[in-house]
Symmetry: C2
Subunit: 304 residues, 2 copies
């Protein structure tokens, strides 16, 4: 089953209490597709880059089964660039620099084969771009998921709500759920957001795990208590990639599949934060993944 | 199996965004013994009260199988009094008033029957009182658990660490774990604290659940995502009461029993916050409890 991902492919400079990484590969679509590649093989990215983006990184994604022909390289321009510095507790960060560069003119036009994708992941982008992609799709994909952020709630709430109407799964963090719903209580916030359209809502709480809601049920996936979080950048995108990759591999969307998908997504995210950028995600073995999943079982399994 | 609880029996005035309760029954030992009474029958409290404490509330505890003969009433004096106001998010509160009253001279001398208790719960109190109780015990109880708070870390860290050396289970919250260990990472903090003496450490994270650590294992118990938290007062003590009540009913202390105990403890705490003070804990049926436990199973159970 084919998974289409729209999102940034970017250059990041990151500083954490444990070190610095200058101009490494980042971007939502990079993390999403790399994480998904551990679960499903037919993955396509649609994105935009400048001359400065290293070709060998695209080649690496290709080797992992990711079709990068939809990543448009613009001559004489630079890739989207983000630079940030994490605080000592790793839960908050300062953005030092954001340069839109090629992203300012990103206006994806999907090819016929992209238009027929079964699964669609709308990475965090301007809601108008997310909407334009949705409108281009030939028929409604089996599953559409979207990520977004508080910035779009501050600046484009109406457009954002229009996109939310049309997706199956919305993934946001706890503060964003409160902002989007206008309710400080996450259970009430979830009810309000599910009324906006999506069948499923995933609220990411970082080191406190993630909550999955539909109109009747709630499920909680823990985060592993890690003794070292090296670099949180991309953890949310990796989560989304693990989630959609797992679902694309399974085919069906129901609450039970989503529960498993969220555990896999959490496991992938737990790897992501162990090294800078996508480094740890490049070298996962099936044993690594199985061992990590066992840790999640041990972490929450109990008999009454 | 007998459970001895040392802690406050108090009068509280509480204001939350949902209402006000003036001069209601509170105190760690009250919540602990009431929660434990749903699991085991031989419970004794040691505490101190003034003339103002309502006798019918002690009678109620007696009816639930709690021996309150160790609660000393001091003539012409007032009970320990606490007054607080919760903020809109219910995660933080301002203490409006604290009057030690009878607690200033609390110096418990245990009776022979109290000295032979199998299970000992040291509620949050001056470490010197907790230590005095430990020293009086005829032999080391099967299980000793203690609760404490940041106030004692600020004012009596050395005495506190001396008590911690001698207990089996320490329950503190995440901020306290960071303060006690000097490490911001909870996994590392747990390792450091377990080196101080206790076999088990429970880190309470409020709405984010609780973590159980021993030297080899970690377990995570979620908090129920409640659509209404009415009054969080006493939730931590109720958790401790459910925990020790369950263990006293089971007999043995091992990681698996502790996992189940923490789920029961979390369930009891989830009831506690539904009404002011101890009100909800007064009227639980076995069906209420079983249904709540089922919700915890549903909340975290998954198949990979």
């Amino acid at each position: 089953m084919s998974l289409l991902t729209i999102g940034t492919v970017a250059i990041d400079s990151i500083e954490t209490p444990y070190g610095k990484a200058d101009r490494i590969v980042g971007g939502a679509a990079t993390y999403i597709s790399l994480a998904a590649s551990y679960y499903t093989s037919d993955i396509k990215i649609v994105s935009i880059i400048g001359e400065d983006f290293p070709q060998e990184e695209l080649n690496f994604l290709e080797k992992r089964g990711v079709d990068t022909s939809g990543v448009k390289r613009i001559k004489d321009q630079k890739s989207f660039f983000w630079s940030g510095k994490y605080h000592i507790d790793m839960n908050s960060r300062d953005t030092l620099d954001t340069q839109l560069n090629v992203l300012a003119d990103f206006n994806p036009v999907l090819t016929p084969s992209q238009l027929e994708s079964d699964y669609l992941m709308l990475g965090n982008l301007t809601p108008s771009i997310q909407m334009s992609v949705l409108k281009q799709m030939k028929s409604r994909p089996k599953i559409t998921a979207m990520d977004t952020m508080n910035f779009w709630m501050d600046t484009a709430m109406d457009e954002l709500k229009e996109v939310i109407k049309h997706v199956d799964i919305l993934t946001i963090n706890d503060e964003e759920a409160k902002q989007l719903s206008g309710d400080k209580n996450l259970s009430k916030a979830a009810k309000i957001i599910l009324e906006m359209g999506p069948r499923y809502l995933i609220i990411k709480k970082g080191e406190h795990g993630a909550l999955l809601f539909d109109r009747e049920n709630v499920f909680f996936a823990p985060a592993l208590p890690l003794s070292q979080v090296f670099d949180p950048t991309g953890a949310g995108d990796t989560f989304a990639g693990g989630l959609m990759g797992y679902l694309a591999g399974k085919g069906d969307l129901n609450f039970n599949n989503l529960k498993s998908a969220i555990i896999h997504a959490s496991a992938m995210a737990s790897f992501c934060v162990e090294e800078f950028g996508i480094n740890r995600l490049k070298t996962l073995s099936q044993d690594d993944l199985n061992n990590r999943l066992d840790m999640f079982v041990d972490l929450v399994h109990f008999d009454l």
